[in-house]
């Protein structure tokens, strides 16, 4: 059976015109990959350190509370919050709703804005002494 092997497959970054909707979609992937690699590694380190004992936990805590640790922590928090809101947006799109151009554009901006606001709120709470 004949198949057109030149069919366009992902990535479509060179085909789509950039807009908030496609940006939110691709950032959802990028944050997912970041969480899968950096987030999962640190998550496993944290749990294994806690299971290994106080000394191993202190090593982790020392890195996590340093300036680099806090920077990575803020980045991972934003990635997790964005991926969550972006994921909820995809659920709405998956049931076939929200494809009207204006609606799609508005909710994409809301995902971007909400991810920044919620991340800021979480870290102000942490750094503000809980």
């Amino acid at each position: 059976m004949h198949r057109n092997t030149a069919r366009p497959l992902s990535p479509h970054l060179t085909i789509w015109r950039w807009g908030p909707h496609m940006a939110v979609s691709i950032i959802n992937r990028v944050t997912g990959v970041g969480l899968s690699v950096v987030g999962a590694a640190l998550f496993v380190w944290w749990l294994v350190a806690a299971a290994s004992g106080a000394e191993a936990y202190e090593t982790f805590a020392g890195v996590a509370t340093g300036w680099l640790g806090v920077l990575v922590g803020v980045g991972l928090t934003w990635a997790l919050v964005f991926h969550t809101f972006g994921g909820i947006r995809h659920y709405v799109l998956d049931i076939g709703a929200g494809y009207e151009l204006r609606t799609n554009r508005r909710w994409s901006w809301i995902v971007i804005g909400a991810s920044v606001v919620v991340t800021a709120a979480i870290w102000l709470y942490i750094l503000g002494g809980r």
């Binding site: 059976m1 004949h2 198949r3 057109n4 069919r7 497959l9 992902s10 990535p11 992937r29 997912g32 990959v33 969480l35 899968s36 999962a40 590694a41 998550f43 496993v44 749990l47 294994v48 806690a50 299971a51 106080a54 936990y57 202190e58 805590a61 997790l80 969550t84 994921g87 909820i88 659920y91 998956d94 979480i122 709470y125 942490i126 809980r130």
Partner: protein, 129 residues
């Protein structure tokens, strides 16, 4: 083109060569991660601190340990499913695509096993004191 039924002509053409059930499972698993992550973040923020003793005592509770194991399992399954889609889409050489997918399964299972064992180890050991 032009032979067979409509479904027969399009079947297997996507980058994953199939995937309706994967698509549905991916959504079901991520639905489970959502409340678990809300619980996880709120719990961490509500702890007085994140010191060794506090965290170990927190995971010493059966409820927290069970929820934590559920979080670990759903998260690593979601990680595997999501990264698989990324690899299928962006790794265009077929041999590399298969090999990276195998590495992904091995790594995600290993990570999930290590994290699950750590939670159980803490929970079964009891409190830090």
């Amino acid at each position: 083109m032009g032979h067979g039924t409509g479904i027969g002509r399009v079947r297997g053409l996507g980058s994953a060569k199939g995937g309706a059930s994967h698509w549905a499972m991916e959504r079901m698993v991520s639905l489970a991660t959502l409340p678990l992550f809300v619980w996880f973040l709120v719990s961490l923020l509500r702890l007085p601190d994140l010191s060794y003793t506090t965290v170990v005592n927190w995971l010493g509770s059966s409820l927290n340990a069970v929820l934590m194991v559920l979080l670990v399992v759903t998260t690593f399954v979601h990680l595997k499913q999501g990264m698989q889609v990324v690899l299928d889409d962006y790794v265009h050489d077929e041999g590399t695509r298969v090999l990276t997918n195998v590495a992904l399964v091995f790594l995600s299972v290993a990570g999930g096993a290590a994290a699950t064992f750590a939670v159980l180890q803490i929970a079964f050991r009891g409190t830090a004191n």
